[in-house]
């Protein structure tokens, strides 16, 4: 028994030395990044860019934890980071309420905290780097109105919205921004707005039902690109993809991202939801290296419209190798 236990321990420690290696004696700055869910492409891209940008600074060691879309797990991971006393903590919160308190604990422990992209219930951060989803919603709404006006000579037509996870800030505000625009035109009708939880496969199923019920659809507004693509796949299956255009939000680079879908002619447009990482690293780096620097409480980043006209150029800009 004892021998087996010994063997087990030896194996475990062997796994370790293979896994993490031991720290070298040199004094390094530790940047801890708590990511909500690596499985979402947007967030995977954030991680990749984070790694690429921090690699420019040899005195900085970046560690990333993945909460796998689980609030409790992310709270635990942030708690563990606090014990390690990092020089900078960056948190991309899974959900607002769940992370608020623990980020407050990090602040109390004297750790500078950057809140990335999603807000929390109280300003328990040094600075908040984010984009503006209402503005993105308005941009998308205006693009759709312009398209319909061109198509019919006046602003009218039938719109389907594919909604993300209800209650999430991005979903609420992308919907709100676009609705503000649509409301100005009584002849533009929202004929269906099913919830597909940001997921392409779900969007395809929900869109199939909508297509069965609605004989005429002009525009599908996906609150993210995967859902717009899911709706497209459903329409193509019923040979109706030429009847309507598909508009998405996120505008990620890379072969799986929304910008590629624009160059492929699947999406008519997508609106870049900034990764926020470049700004976060810029601010974070100044916090680390410049003691006189005091960041603003809030940095809002602008969106960009991607259409076939500029898609190639944008693809290069937003693709992280």
């Amino acid at each position: 028994m004892r021998r087996q236990l010994l063997a087990a321990l030896t194996l475990a420690s062997a796994l370790f030395s293979a896994a993490c290696g031991t720290g070298n004696g040199k004094r390094q700055l530790l940047v801890a990044f708590s990511q909500a869910n690596n499985a979402e492409p947007y967030r995977a891209m954030q991680n990749a860019l984070m790694q690429k940008l921090w690699a420019q600074y040899p005195d900085v060691k970046l560690v990333i934890s993945d909460a796998q879309q689980d609030n409790s797990k992310q709270v635990a991971q942030v708690e563990t980071f606090i014990r390690q006393k990092p020089n900078l903590l960056i948190v991309a919160p899974n959900e607002r309420a769940a992370l608020t308190a623990v980020m407050g604990q990090a602040m109390e422990a004297g750790i500078p905290v950057i809140c990335l992209e999603r807000d929390i219930l109280q300003p328990n951060y040094t600075t908040y780097v984010h984009s503006d989803n209402v503005a993105i919603g308005r941009l998308a709404g205006q693009f759709i109105v312009d398209y319909l006006t061109k198509k019919y000579g006046q602003p009218k037509g039938n719109i389907v919205a594919m909604r993300g996870l209800l209650g999430v800030e991005g979903e609420i505000n992308r919907d709100k921004g676009a609705s503000e625009i649509f409301q100005k035109y009584p002849q533009i009708r929202m004929v269906a707005d099913p919830v597909a939880d940001w997921i392409q496969a779900k969007a395809k199923d929900r869109m199939t039902e909508v297509l069965r019920a609605q004989p005429q659809i002009d525009v599908v507004y996906g609150h993210n690109d995967p859902m717009a693509v899911g709706a497209y796949l459903a329409a193509r299956e019923l040979n109706r993809e030429k009847e309507m255009i598909f508009v998405g939000v996120d505008g990620l680079g890379g072969p799986a991202g929304g910008i590629k879908k624009v160059t492929d002619g699947i999406l008519a447009a997508t609106f870049v939801y900034p990764l926020c990482v470049d700004k976060a690293v810029e601010i974070g780096n100044r916090i680390l290296h410049d003691p006189a620097f005091h960041p603003d409480k809030d940095y809002t980043l602008d969106s960009l419209m991607v259409t076939p006209a500029n898609a190639r150029q944008m693809y290069d800009k937003f693709t992280v190798p």
């Binding site: 689980d70 563990t80 309420a97 308190a101």
Partner: protein, 319 residues
């Protein structure tokens, strides 16, 4: 040597390893051994730890309860809805007590339902609780319209509830109390003996005239109640009622029970073993996170440890 001592040896080994590889704090002490970190671990294992206590009883009877994660989600939702959407005109403590009672009662009823169907219709526990897992998840999503019910940070009743019940002392204290109670019931009461006897040999228990049906209903009810209470703590900890909470918690709870030396076939096992099982998982997670081991690798390492922990115990039994 009983299984629980072997799992205790495994826990000791992992703790020693955790101390050995723990990063050092600024003052040269081991981060792993800081009181704050050790209580972090206890708090983090408390919810699933509590569910695992009741799961031990269920597994001892030869059953299984897959619905615990969904019941937890239902309880978080009911507690948060009671706190944020009801204005019963009561004092804060009474309102909070009402919310907790409602959440735990709903969870307990689900447990009664599980137990009654299993005991009277004689359908396999796996199937019954699988159905409950799906159905109750649906119920939680339905009553919340699939939205999270946020609990704010103000001075209202919901915020006071969260502030109180997310206290480490309350969470860890609840777990400790439940653990002591369950250990006592299993070791010292007639009910505890019945639970074991049914899992050991149900036919024999039946011929001996033991109240099989009643015992089974109780076991699943207790499982529901504890999952419900864990849900209440979850709502406070995460400041929200979340119909999507607790996914795969049943598997973590079952893993803790099994690592603690209770075989899935039931009949033998102990609460101490289950507590050790929960601690092993908690210490392991903490140790790997402190070393910033890649989370995918973390899963693989955990898989190896689970199999090793159980294999060491099996080996001994057959010898």
């Amino acid at each position: 040597m009983p299984a629980r001592f072997q799992s205790f040896a495994a826990l000791t080994g992992i703790v020693i390893l955790a101390i050995a590889i723990s990063p050092a704090a600024a003052d040269g002490s081991r981060v792993f051994l800081q009181t704050g970190n050790l209580t972090d671990i206890l708090r983090q294992i408390s919810l699933i730890g509590m569910i695992a206590l009741a799961m031990t009883f269920v597994i001892l009877t030869g059953g299984i309860d897959l619905s615990v994660g969904s019941i937890l989600a239902l309880a978080t939702s009911i507690a948060a809805m009671c706190l944020t959407r009801m204005a019963p005109g009561m004092s804060y403590p009474a309102h909070i007590a009402l919310a907790i009672a409602a959440a735990v009662a709903a969870a307990g009823l689900t447990g009664v339902l599980n137990g009654a169907v299993i005991a009277t219709l004689r359908i396999q526990p796996f199937i019954v609780t699988l159905a409950t897992m799906i159905g109750v998840r649906g119920l939680a999503k339905w009553i919340t319209q699939n939205e999270n019910i946020d609990i704010g940070f103000g001075r209202d009743v919901a915020a006071s509830f969260a502030a109180l019940f997310r206290e480490k002392a309350i969470v860890i204290g609840s777990y400790a109390l439940a653990a002591a109670l369950f250990a006592l019931v299993l070791a010292r009461t007639v009910f505890g003996r019945h639970v074991r006897a049914i899992g050991d040999n149900e036919k024999a228990a039946q011929y001996a005239g033991l109240p099989i049906r009643r015992t089974k209903i109780w076991v699943y009810t207790i499982s529901g109640l504890l999952s419900g209470f864990a849900g209440v703590l979850y709502a406070a900890e995460n400041h929200q009622g979340n119909p999507n909470a607790g996914v795969a918690y049943e598997l973590d709870a079952i893993a803790a029970v099994v690592i603690g030396g209770t075989p899935l076939s039931g009949g033998r096992g102990s609460i101490a073993g289950t507590i050790i099982g929960s601690l092993i998982m908690g210490v392991l997670t903490n140790m790997l996170r402190l070393k910033n081991v890649d989370s995918n690798l973390e899963m693989m390492i955990k898989a190896v440890i689970i199999v090793l922990a159980v294999a060491v115990q099996r080996e001994r039994e057959s010898a």
